[in-house]
């Protein structure tokens, strides 16, 4: 059934083709916007979308800063995939069904690098057993290397092979919506809050 539709569609398309048009060349380093201080720009944008960023020297310092967050201390169910940052209450290795993570209050996860122009962090599924951890917990903290901040999305795609991971995402701040009379509400279905720790020496 769908095979013959496949043929039908491809045949119809081949009979209709517009004349050829060149594909533009788009290098990672090109005439794209850059920033004098990409880290500062990243923080600025992240804050404007409801997130917050702390620059810390080490993972130990990140852990200390984390322990100052009231919601982390009050969290009953905690997850961490970053050794040394946050003492988890859940042993992730023992969780086989992602549904069992429904009650996670706070999760500490890791990101590969950040993008200055839009406050986004690139994350993949090879740092977590269950990718739903980027979306299901009530609150998130993300640990990234402070040295790994790119200026823009061209540079970002220049350093990743998106096909290497079944799942990867750019995540910029906590979840949000303005669907009710254009009133911005932070915390829609994903995390209500996102705290980023940019660690200088990992």
């Amino acid at each position: 059934m769908t095979q013959s539709s496949r043929q039908q569609i491809l045949t119809r398309l081949r009979a209709a083709l517009p004349e050829s048009a060149a594909l533009p060349n788009l290098p990672a380093r090109g005439p794209w916007q850059t920033f004098d201080n990409p880290y500062d720009r990243f923080c600025e944008v992240l804050e404007s979308v409801g997130g917050i960023c702390f620059r810390v020297p080490t993972l130990v310092a990140a852990n200390e800063r984390l322990n100052q967050i009231a919601e982390w201390n009050e969290a009953k169910v905690r997850v961490s995939v970053v050794d040394g940052v946050g003492v988890p209450t859940v042993d992730l290795a023992s969780i086989d069904d992602p549904h069992d993570l429904e009650n996670v209050d706070f999760a500490v996860l890791s990101g590969h690098f950040a993008v200055a122009e839009n406050g986004a962090i690139w994350v993949t599924d090879d740092t977590v057993k269950h990718r739903v951890l980027y979306f299901l917990p009530q609150r998130l903290a993300m640990v990234i290397p402070a040295s790994e901040i790119v200026n823009n999305m061209h540079e970002a795609y220049g350093r990743i092979q998106i096909g290497d991971n079944v799942f990867g995402a750019f995540i910029s701040g906590p979840s949000k919506t303005a669907d009710i009379e254009q009133s911005l509400v932070i915390g829609a279905h994903g995390a209500r809050a996102l705290t980023v720790f940019a660690v200088e020496s990992l």
Binding site: T2, I9, L23, F135, A169, I171
Partner: protein
């Protein structure tokens, strides 16, 4: 009803129409602020336009490339010639997996196919999880905007709907309170779902993967818990390379809502371990549009909604007045192409101002296509007798200088002498809210001729002092 009739009703509630206009203008302004912050903005638009045109010129090859690469990753790729087949394929996949509860993230394509009622007829419960889509689903009405589905509703309207359906406090309308209630209710649905269905913002031919963009995280929750993910995709959503995503992800959210990027831009390359990923490719008239040199550029559309936000007519008539899955400027091209008879008023719901063309991130020449749609409708004899006859009459009148002048003189005379009630009455729609211009005694050609005669006479008299009033 036609667009003008529905627009009249919308405008009749003047305070509400003004509120709607201001709400969308605000989104347009946010877009402007973002765009002005990217020095290479106009270059990005040009690149995006070229990438799309290149892709369209090789679409079948790229589709085959996508299919090959996706299949190699364990994705099951299906091809649907039309809406009916799309719905059938989706239902069969769900039935094979004994799915009773489906969660869905925003997909204009599934609206186009009327998937929800089809699934419900087959005993599958479907919940739209994008907050705006869920609100209109509860109210049993279509979305009025492709990105801001509930933009036509005030918070009190949402409060009433939630009170009725999920038991929020009567009269409560605080957006935070209502969003929290939605979060809690929908969270249960995500956890109980048997499968998740998403749209596709961009698919990448060279990798066999695709990207889904949301602010709420609902798409990801919907597909990361159950063991089945179905992604519905229009065949025109393809891009050749991963690096092309840089251009499009920089343009999309800035154009749509004035944000630098959506909160989540999720890239899917194959099924999660222990689960299945299906992609349904849909034609439903797109290959037909590709054939048309006049209208094929409209296939570049990335469904950002910027054209709606900027359209002075859309803002003052609302999405529902278009009676079209996709409203506004782009919808007024795509929908009449599919069904010209039912939607012949849409290309005329436009003052040809051109603002849409200037905000389109992929530089579709929207207002030129809307102009071309009008003669397209004429060729199909769908203009309507009154309009057609009056244009034939006017053309005839203007083909002769004498008839034209004569008609002008008659009109000017009539306007100066007729009593007011003869000029301003229901037969004269111009005159309902506007006065007609004051009719001059002489036409321009008469004034000009008189002036030239006067100048010639001055020149031929012996000069007795230059100048004089001109």
């Amino acid at each position: 009803m036609s667009h003008p009739a529905l627009a009249q009703i919308f405008v009749d509630d003047k305070p509400r129409a003004q509120w709607h206009d201001k709400a969308l203008w605000f989104v347009r302004q946010k877009r402007d602020r973002m765009a002005s912050g990217v020095p290479e903005w106009e270059d990005l638009r040009q690149h995006a336009s070229e990438i799309k045109q290149h892709t369209m010129s090789l679409l079948p090859d790229y589709l085959e490339m996508f299919e090959k690469n996706a299949t190699a990753r364990g994705v099951k790729v299906h091809w649907a010639a039309d809406a009916e087949e799309h719905n059938r394929i989706v239902t069969e996949i769900l039935q094979q997996h004994q799915v009773k509860k489906l969660v869905k993230s925003k997909s204009m394509l599934t609206e186009e196919c009327h998937l929800n009622p089809y699934l419900e007829k087959h005993g599958i419960e479907v919940v739209d999880t994008d907050l705006g889509e869920w609100i209109v689903q509860l109210r049993d009405e279509p979305p009025s905007h492709i990105v801001l589905p509930a933009i036509h509703l005030k918070k009190e309207d949402v409060g009433d709907t939630f009170h009725e359906h999920i038991g929020t406090e009567k009269g409560a309308s605080d957006p935070k309170y209502l969003t929290e209630a939605a979060r809690n209710t929908l969270r249960q649905r995500f956890c109980a779902a048997d499968a998740g269905l998403t749209g596709v913002n961009f698919a990448i031919a060279e990798t066999g993967g695709f990207v889904v963009c949301t602010n709420e995280g609902n798409a990801d929750l919907g597909v990361s818990l159950p063991k089945l993910h179905i992604a519905s995709m229009g065949i025109e959503k393809l891009l050749p390379r991963a690096s092309d995503l840089a251009v499009f992800l920089r343009l999309l959210a800035r154009s749509a809502t004035g944000q630098p990027i959506t909160t989540y831009s999720s890239h899917f390359h194959g099924p999660r371990e222990g689960s299945e990923l299906h992609v349904v490719l849909l034609d439903n008239g797109r290959s037909e549009i590709l054939k048309s040199p006049e209208f094929r550029r409209s296939l570049s559309c990335i469904r950002c909604g910027a054209c709606m936000n900027t359209c002075p007519v859309y803002r003052r008539s609302g999405g529902h007045s278009y009676e079209s899955t996709v409203p506004g400027p782009i919808g007024s091209i795509l929908t009449p192409l599919k069904d010209p008879e039912a939607h012949s008023s849409l290309p005329f719901a436009c003052s040809l101002c051109g603002s849409c063309t200037d905000v389109c991130p992929v530089k579709i020449d929207l207002h030129h296509q809307l102009f071309a749609m009008r003669s397209f409708l004429d060729r199909k004899k769908l203009l309507g007798m009154p309009k057609k006859l009056s244009m034939k009459f006017a053309s005839g009148l203007m083909s002769s200088k004498w008839v034209f002048s004569g008609a002008g003189k008659a009109a000017r005379t009539a306007l100066r002498w007729l009593p007011r009630f003869a000029v301003y009455n229901p037969l004269n729609p111009w005159g309902k809210q506007r006065d007609l211009p004051d009719a001059p005694k002489d036409s321009f050609r008469a004034q000009y001729a008189a002036y030239q005669k006067d100048q010639a006479e001055k020149k031929s008299r012996p000069s007795s002092g230059a100048g004089g009033p001109s």
